[in-house]
Point group: C2
Chain length 162, copies 2
Protein backbone atom coordinates (compact mmCIF):
# COMPACT_ATOMS: atom_id res chain seq x y z
CA UNK A 1 0.00 0.00 0.00
CA UNK A 2 1.55 3.26 -1.16
CA UNK A 3 1.49 6.36 0.99
CA UNK A 4 2.22 8.77 -1.87
CA UNK A 5 -0.49 10.81 -3.54
CA UNK A 6 -0.81 12.16 -7.09
CA UNK A 7 -1.25 15.84 -7.95
CA UNK A 8 -4.88 16.79 -7.27
CA UNK A 9 -5.43 14.08 -4.68
CA UNK A 10 -6.47 14.94 -1.12
CA UNK A 11 -5.82 12.91 1.99
CA UNK A 12 -8.43 12.52 4.67
CA UNK A 13 -7.27 14.10 7.94
CA UNK A 14 -6.98 10.55 9.38
CA UNK A 15 -6.78 6.98 8.15
CA UNK A 16 -10.17 5.27 8.55
CA UNK A 17 -8.26 2.01 9.04
CA UNK A 18 -7.11 3.43 12.37
CA UNK A 19 -10.68 4.16 13.53
CA UNK A 20 -12.47 0.83 13.39
CA UNK A 21 -16.00 0.76 14.79
CA UNK A 22 -17.52 -2.45 13.41
CA UNK A 23 -16.18 -5.79 12.25
CA UNK A 24 -16.64 -7.91 9.15
CA UNK A 25 -16.40 -11.69 8.96
CA UNK A 26 -15.68 -13.24 5.58
CA UNK A 27 -18.40 -15.60 4.33
CA UNK A 28 -16.44 -16.95 1.39
CA UNK A 29 -14.04 -16.18 -1.38
CA UNK A 30 -14.14 -15.26 -5.08
CA UNK A 31 -12.48 -17.65 -7.47
CA UNK A 32 -11.71 -15.83 -10.71
CA UNK A 33 -9.19 -15.74 -13.55
CA UNK A 34 -8.04 -12.26 -12.47
CA UNK A 35 -4.99 -11.08 -10.63
CA UNK A 36 -3.85 -7.57 -9.72
CA UNK A 37 -2.31 -6.93 -13.12
CA UNK A 38 -5.17 -7.96 -15.39
CA UNK A 39 -8.40 -7.52 -13.41
CA UNK A 40 -11.19 -5.77 -15.33
CA UNK A 41 -11.71 -2.30 -13.91
CA UNK A 42 -15.47 -2.70 -13.55
CA UNK A 43 -18.21 -5.30 -13.95
CA UNK A 44 -19.20 -4.06 -17.42
CA UNK A 45 -15.66 -4.76 -18.65
CA UNK A 46 -15.64 -8.07 -16.84
CA UNK A 47 -18.87 -9.13 -18.60
CA UNK A 48 -17.28 -8.28 -21.96
CA UNK A 49 -14.47 -10.75 -21.36
CA UNK A 50 -16.97 -13.62 -21.21
CA UNK A 51 -14.93 -15.18 -18.39
CA UNK A 52 -17.07 -16.67 -15.62
CA UNK A 53 -16.17 -16.87 -11.96
CA UNK A 54 -17.45 -18.54 -8.83
CA UNK A 55 -17.94 -18.05 -5.13
CA UNK A 56 -16.82 -20.66 -2.61
CA UNK A 57 -18.65 -20.13 0.65
CA UNK A 58 -17.09 -21.16 3.91
CA UNK A 59 -18.39 -24.21 5.76
CA UNK A 60 -21.67 -23.44 7.49
CA UNK A 61 -23.06 -21.04 4.88
CA UNK A 62 -24.63 -23.52 2.42
CA UNK A 63 -28.09 -23.19 4.02
CA UNK A 64 -27.93 -19.42 3.49
CA UNK A 65 -28.24 -20.03 -0.29
CA UNK A 66 -31.71 -21.57 -0.03
CA UNK A 67 -34.16 -19.73 -2.25
CA UNK A 68 -31.57 -18.42 -4.69
CA UNK A 69 -31.92 -19.81 -8.22
CA UNK A 70 -29.72 -20.19 -11.28
CA UNK A 71 -30.33 -17.25 -13.61
CA UNK A 72 -31.15 -14.88 -10.76
CA UNK A 73 -29.24 -11.62 -10.34
CA UNK A 74 -27.40 -11.05 -7.09
CA UNK A 75 -25.32 -8.33 -5.50
CA UNK A 76 -21.89 -9.55 -4.43
CA UNK A 77 -20.16 -7.43 -1.78
CA UNK A 78 -16.44 -8.03 -1.45
CA UNK A 79 -13.66 -6.70 0.75
CA UNK A 80 -10.69 -5.16 -1.10
CA UNK A 81 -8.19 -5.79 1.64
CA UNK A 82 -5.20 -4.32 -0.19
CA UNK A 83 -6.75 -0.95 -0.96
CA UNK A 84 -5.68 2.22 0.82
CA UNK A 85 -8.45 3.99 2.74
CA UNK A 86 -7.23 7.53 3.33
CA UNK A 87 -8.08 9.48 0.13
CA UNK A 88 -10.96 11.98 0.07
CA UNK A 89 -10.22 13.04 -3.50
CA UNK A 90 -8.38 10.92 -6.02
CA UNK A 91 -7.18 10.91 -9.61
CA UNK A 92 -7.83 7.47 -11.13
CA UNK A 93 -5.69 6.74 -14.19
CA UNK A 94 -8.72 6.62 -16.49
CA UNK A 95 -10.43 9.76 -15.13
CA UNK A 96 -9.88 13.25 -16.49
CA UNK A 97 -9.04 14.87 -13.16
CA UNK A 98 -9.58 14.71 -9.42
CA UNK A 99 -12.92 13.46 -8.14
CA UNK A 100 -14.33 12.77 -4.72
CA UNK A 101 -14.02 9.21 -3.51
CA UNK A 102 -17.82 8.92 -3.13
CA UNK A 103 -18.25 9.91 -6.81
CA UNK A 104 -16.04 6.98 -7.91
CA UNK A 105 -16.24 3.21 -7.87
CA UNK A 106 -12.50 3.05 -7.19
CA UNK A 107 -11.32 0.38 -4.71
CA UNK A 108 -9.64 3.19 -2.76
CA UNK A 109 -12.26 4.29 -0.22
CA UNK A 110 -12.65 4.63 3.56
CA UNK A 111 -14.23 1.17 3.71
CA UNK A 112 -12.97 -0.77 0.69
CA UNK A 113 -16.20 -2.63 -0.06
CA UNK A 114 -16.78 -3.74 -3.65
CA UNK A 115 -20.26 -4.09 -5.14
CA UNK A 116 -20.85 -6.22 -8.25
CA UNK A 117 -24.20 -7.14 -9.82
CA UNK A 118 -23.89 -10.68 -11.22
CA UNK A 119 -26.07 -13.46 -12.59
CA UNK A 120 -25.95 -16.89 -10.97
CA UNK A 121 -24.94 -19.36 -13.72
CA UNK A 122 -24.99 -22.57 -11.65
CA UNK A 123 -25.34 -23.63 -8.03
CA UNK A 124 -24.10 -26.48 -5.90
CA UNK A 125 -25.95 -25.57 -2.77
CA UNK A 126 -24.74 -28.44 -0.60
CA UNK A 127 -21.13 -27.52 -1.38
CA UNK A 128 -21.78 -23.81 -0.85
CA UNK A 129 -20.66 -22.92 -4.36
CA UNK A 130 -22.24 -20.80 -7.05
CA UNK A 131 -21.17 -19.71 -10.52
CA UNK A 132 -21.19 -16.08 -11.65
CA UNK A 133 -21.46 -14.77 -15.23
CA UNK A 134 -18.55 -12.39 -14.54
CA UNK A 135 -16.69 -10.65 -11.74
CA UNK A 136 -14.42 -7.63 -11.49
CA UNK A 137 -12.46 -8.97 -8.51
CA UNK A 138 -9.11 -10.71 -8.12
CA UNK A 139 -8.97 -14.41 -7.41
CA UNK A 140 -9.39 -15.03 -3.66
CA UNK A 141 -11.02 -11.69 -2.84
CA UNK A 142 -13.00 -12.19 0.40
CA UNK A 143 -16.80 -11.98 0.11
CA UNK A 144 -18.75 -10.35 2.94
CA UNK A 145 -22.35 -10.49 1.70
CA UNK A 146 -24.68 -11.71 -1.04
CA UNK A 147 -28.07 -10.11 -1.60
CA UNK A 148 -30.78 -10.78 -4.17
CA UNK A 149 -30.89 -7.99 -6.78
CA UNK A 150 -34.42 -6.60 -6.89
CA UNK A 151 -35.49 -4.29 -9.75
CA UNK A 152 -38.09 -2.53 -7.61
CA UNK A 153 -35.42 -1.63 -5.05
CA UNK A 154 -32.16 -1.49 -6.96
CA UNK A 155 -33.12 0.72 -9.91
CA UNK A 156 -33.81 4.33 -8.96
CA UNK A 157 -37.45 5.27 -9.70
CA UNK A 158 -36.92 7.50 -12.73
CA UNK A 159 -34.62 5.02 -14.45
CA UNK A 160 -36.93 2.02 -14.06
CA UNK A 161 -37.40 0.07 -17.31
CA UNK A 162 -40.71 0.88 -18.97
CA UNK B 1 -30.62 -8.87 20.26
CA UNK B 2 -32.63 -12.05 20.72
CA UNK B 3 -31.00 -15.48 20.83
CA UNK B 4 -34.20 -17.39 20.14
CA UNK B 5 -35.10 -18.72 16.71
CA UNK B 6 -38.47 -19.34 15.04
CA UNK B 7 -39.60 -22.71 13.67
CA UNK B 8 -37.82 -23.30 10.35
CA UNK B 9 -34.89 -21.06 11.16
CA UNK B 10 -31.33 -22.42 11.17
CA UNK B 11 -28.39 -21.10 13.13
CA UNK B 12 -24.94 -20.86 11.62
CA UNK B 13 -22.50 -23.16 13.46
CA UNK B 14 -20.80 -20.01 14.83
CA UNK B 15 -21.55 -16.32 15.31
CA UNK B 16 -19.79 -14.29 12.59
CA UNK B 17 -19.56 -11.46 15.11
CA UNK B 18 -17.05 -13.63 17.01
CA UNK B 19 -14.84 -14.07 13.91
CA UNK B 20 -13.93 -10.57 12.83
CA UNK B 21 -11.38 -10.30 10.00
CA UNK B 22 -11.74 -6.70 8.73
CA UNK B 23 -12.84 -3.41 10.22
CA UNK B 24 -15.30 -0.70 9.22
CA UNK B 25 -15.06 2.97 10.06
CA UNK B 26 -18.26 5.00 9.94
CA UNK B 27 -18.18 7.90 7.45
CA UNK B 28 -21.40 9.51 8.57
CA UNK B 29 -24.90 8.96 9.79
CA UNK B 30 -28.42 8.75 8.35
CA UNK B 31 -30.91 11.30 9.57
CA UNK B 32 -34.42 10.04 8.91
CA UNK B 33 -37.93 10.13 10.33
CA UNK B 34 -37.79 6.41 11.07
CA UNK B 35 -37.27 4.50 14.29
CA UNK B 36 -37.31 0.78 15.00
CA UNK B 37 -41.07 0.58 15.23
CA UNK B 38 -42.05 2.39 12.03
CA UNK B 39 -39.16 1.99 9.58
CA UNK B 40 -40.21 1.01 6.04
CA UNK B 41 -39.14 -2.56 5.39
CA UNK B 42 -37.47 -1.76 2.06
CA UNK B 43 -36.56 1.22 -0.10
CA UNK B 44 -39.59 0.77 -2.38
CA UNK B 45 -41.89 1.23 0.65
CA UNK B 46 -39.76 4.12 1.85
CA UNK B 47 -40.16 5.89 -1.51
CA UNK B 48 -43.94 5.48 -1.28
CA UNK B 49 -44.03 7.42 1.98
CA UNK B 50 -42.65 10.51 0.24
CA UNK B 51 -40.53 11.23 3.35
CA UNK B 52 -37.03 12.47 2.50
CA UNK B 53 -33.90 11.87 4.55
CA UNK B 54 -30.34 13.08 4.67
CA UNK B 55 -26.80 11.98 5.31
CA UNK B 56 -24.50 13.90 7.63
CA UNK B 57 -20.90 13.01 6.88
CA UNK B 58 -18.28 13.21 9.58
CA UNK B 59 -15.71 16.00 9.51
CA UNK B 60 -13.07 15.37 6.86
CA UNK B 61 -15.33 13.69 4.30
CA UNK B 62 -16.75 16.77 2.51
CA UNK B 63 -14.11 16.60 -0.26
CA UNK B 64 -15.14 13.01 -0.98
CA UNK B 65 -18.47 14.35 -2.35
CA UNK B 66 -16.84 16.25 -5.22
CA UNK B 67 -18.29 15.19 -8.54
CA UNK B 68 -21.63 14.03 -7.16
CA UNK B 69 -24.60 16.07 -8.35
CA UNK B 70 -28.16 16.73 -7.23
CA UNK B 71 -30.49 14.36 -9.08
CA UNK B 72 -27.86 11.64 -9.37
CA UNK B 73 -28.57 8.14 -8.06
CA UNK B 74 -26.26 6.73 -5.40
CA UNK B 75 -25.87 3.53 -3.46
CA UNK B 76 -25.89 4.07 0.30
CA UNK B 77 -24.30 1.30 2.35
CA UNK B 78 -25.19 1.34 6.03
CA UNK B 79 -24.29 -0.73 9.07
CA UNK B 80 -27.23 -2.29 10.94
CA UNK B 81 -25.48 -2.51 14.27
CA UNK B 82 -28.37 -3.98 16.20
CA UNK B 83 -29.01 -6.93 13.89
CA UNK B 84 -28.13 -10.48 14.86
CA UNK B 85 -25.61 -12.21 12.58
CA UNK B 86 -25.95 -15.92 13.24
CA UNK B 87 -28.88 -17.11 11.08
CA UNK B 88 -28.27 -19.15 7.92
CA UNK B 89 -31.98 -19.63 7.27
CA UNK B 90 -34.69 -17.35 8.56
CA UNK B 91 -38.43 -16.80 8.52
CA UNK B 92 -39.16 -13.11 8.07
CA UNK B 93 -42.63 -12.11 9.21
CA UNK B 94 -43.75 -11.16 5.68
CA UNK B 95 -42.30 -14.29 3.95
CA UNK B 96 -44.22 -17.50 3.41
CA UNK B 97 -41.60 -19.79 4.91
CA UNK B 98 -37.91 -20.24 5.66
CA UNK B 99 -35.40 -18.83 3.19
CA UNK B 100 -31.66 -18.60 3.09
CA UNK B 101 -30.19 -15.39 4.44
CA UNK B 102 -28.49 -14.68 1.09
CA UNK B 103 -31.88 -14.90 -0.68
CA UNK B 104 -33.30 -12.16 1.56
CA UNK B 105 -32.70 -8.45 2.09
CA UNK B 106 -33.35 -8.91 5.82
CA UNK B 107 -31.11 -6.93 8.21
CA UNK B 108 -30.22 -10.25 9.86
CA UNK B 109 -27.08 -11.43 8.03
CA UNK B 110 -23.49 -12.40 8.81
CA UNK B 111 -22.37 -8.87 8.03
CA UNK B 112 -25.36 -6.60 8.60
CA UNK B 113 -24.70 -4.22 5.71
CA UNK B 114 -27.70 -2.39 4.22
CA UNK B 115 -27.84 -1.32 0.58
CA UNK B 116 -30.24 1.41 -0.58
CA UNK B 117 -30.42 3.03 -4.02
CA UNK B 118 -31.36 6.69 -3.53
CA UNK B 119 -31.53 9.94 -5.47
CA UNK B 120 -29.62 12.96 -4.21
CA UNK B 121 -32.18 15.73 -3.70
CA UNK B 122 -29.82 18.49 -2.50
CA UNK B 123 -26.20 18.89 -1.47
CA UNK B 124 -24.28 21.11 0.91
CA UNK B 125 -20.84 19.88 0.01
CA UNK B 126 -18.89 22.13 2.35
CA UNK B 127 -20.97 20.92 5.28
CA UNK B 128 -20.73 17.30 4.17
CA UNK B 129 -24.50 16.92 3.92
CA UNK B 130 -26.74 15.56 1.21
CA UNK B 131 -30.47 15.01 0.88
CA UNK B 132 -32.00 11.69 -0.16
CA UNK B 133 -35.39 11.10 -1.78
CA UNK B 134 -36.07 8.28 0.68
CA UNK B 135 -34.34 5.83 2.98
CA UNK B 136 -35.29 2.54 4.62
CA UNK B 137 -33.02 3.04 7.65
CA UNK B 138 -33.58 4.22 11.20
CA UNK B 139 -32.48 7.67 12.24
CA UNK B 140 -28.77 7.64 13.17
CA UNK B 141 -27.88 4.43 11.30
CA UNK B 142 -24.13 4.58 10.59
CA UNK B 143 -23.12 4.96 6.92
CA UNK B 144 -20.02 3.10 5.73
CA UNK B 145 -19.92 3.92 2.00
CA UNK B 146 -21.49 5.92 -0.81
CA UNK B 147 -21.06 4.91 -4.44
CA UNK B 148 -22.43 6.38 -7.65
CA UNK B 149 -25.17 4.16 -9.11
CA UNK B 150 -24.23 3.31 -12.70
CA UNK B 151 -26.81 1.71 -15.04
CA UNK B 152 -24.13 -0.07 -17.08
CA UNK B 153 -22.82 -1.76 -13.94
CA UNK B 154 -25.75 -1.96 -11.54
CA UNK B 155 -28.42 -3.46 -13.80
CA UNK B 156 -27.77 -7.07 -14.80
CA UNK B 157 -27.31 -7.37 -18.59
CA UNK B 158 -30.60 -9.07 -19.49
CA UNK B 159 -32.68 -6.66 -17.44
CA UNK B 160 -31.10 -3.50 -18.89
CA UNK B 161 -33.70 -0.93 -20.03
CA UNK B 162 -34.12 -0.94 -23.80
Amino acid sequence: MSDTIRPGETLLPFDPGDRIEAGLSFVGVIRSDWSRGDCPRNIARARETGRPARIELRPGYAAALEGLETGQAIIVIGWLHGARRDLARQVPRHAGGPRGTFALRSPVRPNPLSLSVCRITWMERAAGQLGLDAIDLFDRTPVVDLKPWLPGADIPPEAHPG
